[in-house]
């Protein structure tokens, strides 16, 4: 691929441990290319959420180097991190909605933080809630919503600012299959507009729904292919486990 270094996310020999515990992530070296769609899979406890935390800048690695959009996130001055975070959209596994804010205010939050005026944010937020099927729940607070509704609000909040990188932790876990497909289409639509998408999921069926996606499989904190090779998922009609393409990460950060 021939994208600019400022557009890629590159992990080089990254390890992560919490306190004095053993490393939960080990020797991660890979590159996320702009405009690609990645599924992150692995058993429970494999380190998916920890890896996502590194991606959405909630955690710094214990070792190794991470470059995002031309910046070394480990040495980046603290005051520049908020600007980096505003380029990200995150769907948390536990949604992390602000409990006393309505669906509208939760979705509007990233825009308000970024300084968008009230007049400018009314239409996009309303349209986004309409798109996730919650136009009738615009004033509802999370406590009165079902798990699926909360998840859709969380997704709407993650994508409202058209992020450069969308990170989603089990984003379809609480919604019915029809809504899951619809949300995947939303991610794909964003992806087509240039957003890099990383979706962590247990659901192997989901992998087959996005034809051009790549898979990263974590196993006990390591990528199952130690070189960081990424594979297209098996096609529904294909031979099952065929590797269509592999890209090897380089040390060219």
């Amino acid at each position: 691929m021939n994208e600019a270094a400022s557009d890629i996310i590159h992990f080089d020999n990254v390890g992560l441990r919490y306190g004095t515990q053993p490393e939960v992530l080990r020797d991660l070296s890979f590159t996320l290319h702009p405009g690609s769609f990645y599924f992150l899979t692995g058993a429970s406890g494999a380190g998916k959420t920890s890896l996502l935390k590194l991606l959405y800048l909630a955690q710094k690695p214990s070792r190794g180097a991470i470059r995002m959009y031309g910046n070394d996130v480990i040495t980046l001055p603290r005051e520049q991190l908020p600007q980096m975070r505003r380029r990200l959209g995150v769907v948390f596994q536990d949604f992390r909605l602000v409990n006393h804010l309505s669906a509208f205010d939760n979705v509007a939050l990233p825009l308000r933080i970024a300084g968008v005026t009230e007049a400018e944010l009314q239409t996009p937020v309303t349209d986004m809630l309409d798109w996730v099927g919650l136009s009738h729940r615009i004033d509802a607070v999370p406590a009165t919503m079902s798990g699926g509704e909360q998840q859709r609000v969380a997704i709407a909040r993650a994508v409202i600012g058209r992020p450069d990188l969308l990170v989603a932790d089990e984003p379809t876990g609480n919604v019915d299959p029809e809504m899951a497909i619809k949300l995947l289409r939303l991610f794909e639509a964003l992806n087509r507009l240039g957003t890099t998408v990383v979706v962590a999921t247990h659901d192997v069926h989901l992998l087959q729904k996005v034809p051009n996606s790549l898979i990263m499989r974590l196993d006990k904190g390591r990528l199952s292919d130690p070189t960081g090779a990424l594979r297209y998922p098996p096609r529904p009609s294909g031979p099952g486990t065929a590797t269509a393409k592999a890209t090897k990460s380089g040390g060219d950060s």
Binding site: Y56, L57, A58, Q59, K60, R78, E79, L81, P82, Q83, R85, R86, L88, V90, R96, L97, V98, N99, H100, L101, D105, L109, P110, L111, R112, I113, A114, G115, V116, E118, E120, L121, T123, P124, D127, M128, W131, R157, V159, I160, G161, R162, R185, L186, A189, L190, L193
Partner: protein, 310 residues
Amino acid sequence: MKLPPLIGRSLNRGLAPLGGENAASLIPRARLTGPVPWVLAIMIALTVLATAGGLALSNLANSARSDLSGALTVQIVEADQELLAQQSEAAQRILTDNPAVQSLRAVPQAELDALLEPWLGTGNAVDSVPMPALIDVQLRDAADAQQIDQLQAALAEQIPNVRVDAQSDWLRPVYSALSALQYLAAVLVILLAATSAAAVWLAVRSSFAAHRETIEIVHLLGGRDDQIARIFQRSVAIDALIGGIIGLTAGLLGVMLIGSRFAGLDSGMVAGGGLGMLDWIAIAAIPFAAILIAMLTARLNVMAALRRMI
């Protein structure tokens, strides 16, 4: 399929701070409007009382000092009444010629008699007792020991049995007691200010703990530290303002009540203990100082907690 609504990058890359109504909506008002305004109101009322008391004491002491600081008493002891009269006149001449002296007054015999009357009764007894001559002297400036010694020496050249006393010497124990009360009031004000700051500190910390989740979310969505700190500063400032108004009103009522009781004494000693315009301004500034302390505490607390997140 309809595409998701997307807005221009120019909008979501904006740098404008999160402020005003948006900031306020992030922290539910009902939670901070707990004990904080009331704790602050009590602290401010006590601080107002202590400050008013300290300032009144300070004014009282200063007023008494300035009344007496330049005042001397010249005492001439002489059994021979004729000689005493001559010496008194000589002393008055010497004192009048001295540039440091502003005014003087020979205490008339009638006043001296009146002074002794409670002990000796009226009538001839007073006449048969040899009385010293007394001259009240007011200096231009405060009297210091050196000046008093010089005057004593100048007078002693012609009048052997003369004695010069500074009137303030007699009141030294009173000044010392007043000073102690002033220090006590100052310490009380400092302690109350520190306690108020500690109360705000604890209230903000507990509020921060209750809103830690919200703060983390705003942090992860790209909120800057100063944006988040401002949200808390604003909440705390509103609480402190409410507490300040209540506390100042209660404190002033207390001050006026005590003031009216002291005014009833109508004594020369407490007449100088009123509060001047500057004093009232200082007292009115207490709630604003409390608001500033509250906001600063909130800011430091939130910033310190945010620094623990990456």
